[in-house]
């Protein structure tokens, strides 16, 4: 690739950023919905493609740096493109292509001036994310980070006439801002008092363990707020559904990964040390997050909220991987750390594709039916077969089923767990099997969630008498975008070694070990993280066998079977009044989960009595953390501000008294 471009990869990346900003501006000024959707969004996708190609070419290449004459006087913008950045840029570019192409179709009917603004915010959002990955000093990082938050906030509140959306946007930006301050403080610790905010200086600063731990905790808090780690996840299920679907896809698929990037950057690159308990903390938090996310996803009735909770789950899984990597690295088991890290990064990449795919899928459903409530959908596979097929790929992938991509990363992660024994710490050795079990539980629940998601939306019969006739399948642009992402899911699932070889550059950089060399030792098809005898997985052959098995069976059956087939009504079990309303709703499908994990939810239910004339059922599951964590905080703030408010008493005498007392107190103080 490098021969194709004489420019350095970092220049390519920078020009893509500039190009995106330019596109955004053009869109803002043009305000012509036809041009924007037909030209600018595809042009943005082209930028993403170039970025992805540039990122791939720079993986493992020399570290590029650049300095822009912007920023603070002593701190111009430093940029750096190393393998870690390149990997995440690749993630951004690769998933961005699909989402941008899809957007071209999705937004085509939008009003011109709103679309112009949206186009601007969208491309600024993309550019800011790219800058986050490339920033090499604290200031640029923060600027890019908050620009990202801000642009996505405005994207979330695109439809700001709805009060819930405004509320969601506010909550999102608030949590993001508090997180950003924490990140800022984390950089404040790392700068070491020299006023040198470049990452290069931070790499060389040696912090005492206490301060290093403080840095890590601050980073975990700050980035966790963006990633949606418990208990800072609160904004996520609000903001993601509120945004237009391509934006949800960007936020969930890519933006959450910026937080993962941040944690990795700070922990493995900037801090020169790791303590094992950081890893244990991350592991625990990750597991709790994963379980929480998936359990809540199972009881959702809004399809985008369901996906948002699923994102929380996946972030939890990624965090588990990071935690494991930290633990291994702190005990100098670098090969294992590389394994865990590879799983983490792989899952991050996977999630970008599958969650992007699913969010875009819900976008198309929303577009076609105007309905987000799962309980009112159903049977769309007949009206939107192409969409149904593409979404099925995403569903199978995110449920962690072989031979798709979600399984690969989960497989790697479980392998990392299995190899953990032998750590010089008895408690950790005990902890890790339990966490592995919990992770397995979360992965299995994800299957439940996805069956619910897919089954309720696409299968069965329409639950409400929706005007079904106008529902038509997705357009060409949407189809291209979705196909790209679905293809990504399949390729990532079937050719893992090929991708792991690229991830190796990152693990080499972060922990000094790679997986690919061992992973590929028995040929590029075989994924063998340690030794072939210990564990091996060959998704390609698995994929082929399943296909061959299916075809073979079909052929045999065809050969020996007469092939007569007739259509009839569904069997009514002797109960003639079967209607489509008797299917499980989303709520009904989630009922077992609600029953089993009742402790986790705040459930309010109105159940009709048998004698009700108009029986009405209403159920609501609430996030108890909201009640336990955020409501008290809000109440404390309110109480405090009420107390402080009393100081502003209105009487001038009291004010004079304040001055007087202040003066006297100070005078007494200096005596």
């Amino acid at each position: 690739m490098t021969t194709l471009f004489s420019a350095l990869p970092i220049d390519i990346a920078l020009s893509v950023i500039a190009y995106w900003l330019l596109l955004g501006l053009i869109g803002l000024l043009l305000q012509n919905s036809r041009i924007i959707s037909q030209w600018i969004f595809p042009a943005g996708a082209l930028g993403a493609l170039i970025l992805a190609v540039g990122a791939v070419s720079s993986l493992g290449g020399a570290v590029n740096t650049a300095v822009l004459p912007l920023g603070l006087p002593d701190l111009p913008f430093h940029l750096r493109l190393d393998s870690l950045s390149a990997f995440f840029l690749l993630l951004l570019g690769a998933a961005g292509i699909g989402i941008s192409v899809y957007s071209a179709g999705y937004f085509r009917n939008m009003e011109g001036n709103t679309l112009g603004l949206l186009c601007f915010e969208y491309h600024v959002f993309l550019a800011a994310m790219a800058l986050v990955f490339m920033a090499d000093d604290a200031y640029l990082f923060m600027v890019a980070w908050e620009t990202m938050a801000l642009s996505s906030y405005f994207l979330v509140t695109t439809d700001h006439s709805v009060p819930e959306i405004r509320r969601a946007g506010f909550l999102y930006l608030l949590v993001a801002h508090v997180g950003a301050i924490a990140i800022l403080m984390c950089f404040g610790v790392m700068q070491g008092g020299h006023g040198d905010y470049t990452f290069a200086a931070m790499r060389h600063a040696h912090l005492a363990p206490f301060w290093a731990s403080a840095t890590f905790l601050l980073a975990l808090f700050g980035f966790g707020a963006k990633a949606g780690i418990l208990p800072l996840h609160i904004w996520l299920p609000e903001a993601h559904p509120a945004a237009p679907s391509p934006v949800s896809a960007l936020m969930s698929g890519i933006m959450l990964k910026t937080a993962i990037y941040g944690i990795l950057r700070v922990t493995f690159d900037l801090l020169g040390m790791q303590l094992w308990w950081w890893g244990a903390l991350a592991l625990t938090l990750g597991l709790v997050t994963a379980l929480f996310g998936v359990i809540f996803a199972a009881v959702q009735t809004d399809m985008k909220r369901l996906l948002a909770y699923s994102s929380i789950e996946n972030i939890g899984i990624i965090l588990v991987g990071i935690g494991l990597a930290i633990i291994f690295h702190s005990f100098h088991k670098d090969a294992l750390a590389a394994l865990a890290l590879t799983a983490t990064l792989y899952h991050a990449l996977n999630h970008a594709f599958m969650k992007g795919l699913l969010f875009l899928g819900t976008g198309s459903v929303l577009h076609a039916t105007g309905e987000r409530n799962l309980g009112k959908l159903g049977g769309l596979i007949h009206r939107m077969p192409k969409l149904a097929l593409l979404v099925l790929v995403g569903v199978l992938a995110i449920a962690g089923l072989p031979p798709l991509n979600g399984f690969v990363s989960e497989w790697l992660l479980l392998q990392a767990f299995l190899l953990s024994p032998g750590l010089p710490h008895p408690y950790l050795n005990m902890l890790i099997p339990i966490t592995a079990a919990a992770l397995a539980l979360a992965a299995a629940l994800a299957g439940y969630v996805m069956v619910k998601f897919y089954g309720v939306i696409f299968l069965g019969q329409p639950r409400e008498d929706k005007p079904g006739e106008q529902v038509h399948d997705i357009g060409i642009m949407e189809r291209i975008g979705l196909t790209w992402l679905a293809l990504g899911c399949i390729l990532l699932g079937v050719f893992p070694v090929f991708f792991i070889l690229h991830i190796d550059y990152v693990t080499q950089m972060l922990v000094g070990q790679t997986l690919g060399s061992t992973a590929a030792q028995t040929g590029w098809m075989w994924l063998t993280p340690i030794q072939p005898e210990r564990a091996s997985y060959n998704p390609l052959i698995l994929f082929l066998i399943i296909i061959i098995g299916v075809i073979f069976t079909m052929q045999v059956v065809k050969k020996f079977y007469h092939g007569r087939l007739s259509r009839g009504p569904a069997w009514d079990c002797g109960f003639p009044e079967q209607t489509s309303r008797m299917q499980d709703t989303a709520e009904g499908f989630g009922q077992p989960i609600r029953q089993i994990f009742e402790l986790f939810f705040g459930i309010t239910r109105e159940v009709p009595s048998p004698f009700d004339k108009k029986p009405h059922y209403h159920g609501e599951t609430r996030d108890l953390l909201w009640d336990w964590c955020y409501v008290p905080i809000a109440r404390i703030t309110e109480t405090l501000s009420a107390l402080i408010g009393k100081l502003q008493h209105g009487r001038i005498h009291v004010y004079l008294l304040y001055s007087f007392v202040t003066l006297l107190a100070l005078l007494a103080f200096i005596r």
Partner: protein
């Protein structure tokens, strides 16, 4: 010479407008005079850039890198505010809230206020600085009560009494300072000249100076709006005309803080300790935290942004109190961007309240729909003041917080809480004001929103790129302040 013009133009302007303030062209004259002041200050700036610090008129005036940027900033914000006030006051007059005589008073006092601000900044004599600060109160107090409503009278009364009493303490501090200086410099004119004081600051008597600083801090701190001396500030901001709120927040508070910082330099020099700095940090932190909690219970939009000013003044005081090259740099940068941003916000808020006919935030809705420029101005301005990059406020907050994290880590949790609470408080309300649906009538005169966007563009620029000469001033000034 530039100094002369800088001071003469607003003074003459004040007199002229006192005579011709009833004429139709008064607002334009006001803007012209402000523009003249701005031009003169620009020339002065150029001169200082080329020639370095200077004194004038028998050392009674002096310009160094610290005050020159404040002079330029003051003249600039005064100019843009006069541009804003032109349509604003016409609309107020149209709404029947103001008579022509009130407008005359307003325009005349506006110029005189500019004069006192610039005098306070340019004078080398700490006594004159006090006089100018007091005069600043006097010129604005009638502006606060311009509408003659009960609330505005009450606000003006509180403003006058509290600031008057406060500034009286500052006079006591000045006397004590003079008392200490007299020993070293001898009685007479030079003992209050800052340049002289600065030269001999290590020889000044520490006990006297620490005593003096307490009085000075309480005195000028009242004007800065440091908690718990801030009580006049929200009332005065909320009840006065919006251009006055803009200049109070954008200029007066800055100048008062300037006075505190000048005193701090002397005191810390004399004591050879961090006594003054610690006091300032304490007050700053207290102001930030208290303002944040006050913010979360506001209903009136101007009052809310007044509390936000307290918060930011607290942050600056904190930064100057920390001292050191980075923090002082950040403090000055914050002064600049806060003035620009806060006045821009007040401009937008002014038109927004005129549009909806109320200052109650719950009744202001959907600005982006009905008047996109006001709405976006308010939204972007609020985000900028809340420390969202890439705006300049973030740059200074970045430096302040990271430095504090390293030097005084125990302070940062307070800052974190305060900034978080302030963000929640302001943004939740701004959001409902700018978003949503509404049907409010059109304004009788086209609003002047160019200043809003000019300010915000400057703030954006300062967040992304600080011109080298500006950075040099800041650095020199930081070296000066220490």
């Amino acid at each position: 010479m530039e100094i002369f013009w800088i001071l003469a133009i607003p003074l003459i302007g004040g007199l002229l407008l006192a005579l011709f303030g009833c004429q139709r062209f008064a607002p334009e004259l006001n803007s012209t005079m402000s523009f003249g002041t701005f031009l003169a200050s620009a020339f002065l700036t150029v001169r200082v850039i080329t020639d370095g610090p200077m004194t004038a008129l028998n050392e009674q005036f002096f310009v160094d890198s610290f005050n020159v940027f404040l002079v330029a900033l003051t003249a600039f914000v005064a100019f843009t505010t006069s541009l804003f006030s032109r349509p604003y006051m016409r609309i107020e007059q149209h709404h029947g809230k103001l008579t022509i005589n009130m407008l005359r008073l307003y325009h005349s006092m506006y110029q005189l206020f500019t004069f006192t601000m610039l005098l306070a900044l340019l004078t080398n004599n700490l006594g004159i600085m006090w006089v100018a600060m007091e005069a600043a109160t006097l010129t604005t107090v009638l502006l606060v009560s311009l509408y003659r409503t009960p609330a505005s009278l009450e606000a003006a009364w509180k403003y006058f009494i509290l600031c008057g009493v406060g500034i009286a303490q500052a006079l006591f501090g000045t006397i004590l300072l003079y008392f200490a200086a007299e020993k070293v410099l001898g009685a007479g004119g030079t003992a209050l000249l800052w340049t002289h004081l600065d030269a001999v600051k290590t020889q000044l008597e520490p006990t006297v100076l620490s005593l003096a600083f307490v009085f000075l801090l309480v005195g000028y701190g009242t004007k800065v709006g440091l908690a718990p001396l801030h009580n006049w500030l929200p009332d005065a901001h909320a009840e006065g005309p919006t251009p006055v709120s803009a200049v109070l927040s954008g200029l007066l508070l800055n100048v008062a803080l300037y006075a505190v910082v000048r005193s701090k330099v002397l005191v810390d020099g004399a004591l050879g300790s961090h006594f003054a700095g610690s006091l300032m940090m304490g007050f700053g932190l207290l102001s930030v935290v208290m303002a944040a909690f006050f913010l979360s219970r506001q209903k009136d939009v101007k009052r809310m942004f007044a509390y936000s000013s307290i918060e930011h003044m607290g942050l600056m005081t904190f930064a100057f109190g920390m001292g050191g090259a980075v923090a002082t740099f950040a403090g000055m940068l914050h002064m600049t961007v806060h003035s620009l941003t806060k006045s821009a916000i007040f401009f937008a808020v002014g038109h927004a309240t005129q549009k909806s006919g109320t200052q109650l935030m719950e009744n202001i809705r959907g600005l982006i729909k009905t008047n996109p420029t006001i709405g976006w101005g308010l939204a972007i301005g609020s985000l900028a003041i809340l420390g969202m990059p890439p705006f300049g406020v973030f740059a200074s907050e970045f430096l302040i917080i990271t430095t504090a994290m390293h030097t005084y880590p125990w302070t940062t949790p307070f800052l974190l809480i305060a900034l978080g609470v302030a963000f929640a408080a302001i943004f939740s309300r701004v959001q409902t004001m700018v978003f949503g649906e509404t049907n409010s009538p059109r304004l009788p005169h086209p609003p002047a929103l160019v200043p809003v966007f000019v300010h915000l563009a400057l703030v954006l620029l300062l967040g992304l790129y600080i011109p080298p000469y500006l950075a040099d001033w800041y650095r020199q000034a930081a070296a000066l302040i220490g």
